[in-house]
Symmetry: C2
Subunit: 287 residues, 2 copies
């Protein structure tokens, strides 16, 4: 039996299941401070005979196995989680192999194995929610270099009618600063779910996301792009993305029809937890 | 003995050598039309008993081995080269394994094996010259997805004092449209080599290249970045790149000191041809 933790900024999803992505049991635990959240996570897994645990975590995290702080959550502003030895804590408790990657890399893995990019050795998974992040499978491997990608913070050009200053504490008007959920709320004065009928909201959202997709396509050339996260529940964003991306690329690169190339997650909100199960499996194989 | 072709837009460099990057003989052939250029290439290699030939080519090219047009130069505006079956022509003539990738991916491979990124499984090689292109080694493999990257055409934000409209026929003011050699020449009215003392020229160049590097760093997280090509012979650009990139990233990601992270090619102008020799070796191993 495999264990999986999708560690998000507001909640942890814990599950046990198998490598086919079948989930036998799951539980949600609020993300407060490690001293509260982690004991509940441990309690959950103590009920099951898990052979390995996979963690898809919010970041930034240290994924460099040669580093003394491998497996840590690193410079997060989230109280209590900065420099938290996540992998070591789980490993010491259960004495099983532990897989560790970003939540979005886990989701990319899940969608490539069992979802919208099934059978492909390359895909990009982007989440647009409280923040913006992306993970990628490249030639069959989860993308990693010096560290994991931080694709949500790339630069975009301002929409000519956008007066909003941006919400990113590091870069102000980077992609996340202009297009994540909190930016939508602050710009328009109310939450996205209450803006469903305001065409200009989603046109502008697509304007920014299309720019990001242009950069990702030109730099990574993914075989499939999957857009998840709360903001992407607003399906009207897709039309704006398709229209703006088509204009931006101007036929410079040959892509499949955009409607089949840029899609929703097949696994829905289960992409991350499914990918985390697969991280557990990888850890088991490598152990 | 290995053969290598670095196929550029203005000249082909042909060489024979070994996997240590030693070059025994080389020749430059002007890039005119295939009917003139290719027979001279063939003539060169007929002098040597090559076991394999590696090609690092200008693009766009088809690197998808499952495609019926694998090994073709595809949608180039260069007269005569559109839909040219490059690999097949060389293979039919010499009946040896032929490796094929972009010129910049070849250069990335060369620098990672024998140059500035020696010993690393990850690097990014960017050329800034007549055009802008980049290749990358990711977890030990040359980056490829649906196709090869086209990183030179990413979007950048305009410098507030830049009135130049941009030179890219597809995207007007994308990175290549604003920062490649021809754009510098057209904006300032004379070639870059005659602008050495004009500080504002290289400050603006660094402003654009730093934005591109920010996107590449956040998306790919390369372990080393190598800047080649004619424009980068102007060493004063580096200071502007370091300064602007530091401001843009604002310590969001942890990087090594920029002076050691973003560097010139150790192989100088031989990065591409050396990488092409290594493509020949790969083809031989895979054959």
């Amino acid at each position: 039996m495999l264990g999986a933790i999708e560690a998000g900024g507001t909640k942890f999803v814990c599950a046990v299941g198998n490598e086919a992505g079948e989930i036998f049991a799951r539980e949600q635990i609020p993300t407060t401070i490690p001293q509260e959240t982690i004991p509940k996570v441990i309690e959950f897994f103590k009920q099951y005979p898990v052979n390995a645990i996979g963690i898809g975590s919010f970041g930034p995290i240290n994924v460099n196995r040669d580093s003394p702080t491998y497996g840590f959550i690193t410079s997060t502003p989230k109280p209590g989680w900065r420099d938290y030895p996540f992998v070591q804590t789980i490993k010491d408790t259960f004495e099983v192999p532990v897989g560790f990657n970003t939540d979005v890399n886990a989701a990319a893995l899940g969608e490539a194995a069992l979802g919208a990019a099934k059978g492909l050795d390359s895909c990009l998974y982007i989440t647009v929610g409280t923040g913006i992040g992306a993970g990628a499978l490249v030639q069959g491997q989860l993308l990693q270099g010096l560290s994991h990608p931080e694709m949500g913070h790339i630069l975009v050009r301002r929409h000519p009618e956008d007066q909003y200053q941006g919400k990113c504490p590091y870069h102000s008007d980077c992609l996340e600063g202009l297009a994540a959920g909190p930016a939508i709320e602050e710009r328009w004065g109310t939450k996205g779910v209450d803006l469903v009928d305001r065409k200009e909201v989603w046109e502008m959202e697509g304007y920014y996301l299309a720019q990001a997709l242009m950069q990702y396509v030109l730099i990574l050339s993914p075989k499939k792009i999957i857009l998840g996260g709360g903001v992407m529940h607003q399906k009207q964003v897709y039309d704006s993305i398709y229209k703006n991306l088509k204009e931006l690329l101007n036929d410079y690169v040959t892509l499949p029809g955009l409607e089949n190339y840029i899609v929703s997650p097949s696994l829905g909100d289960n992409a991350g937890i499914t990918g985390s199960l697969l991280l557990a499996r990888q850890a088991l194989i490598e152990a």
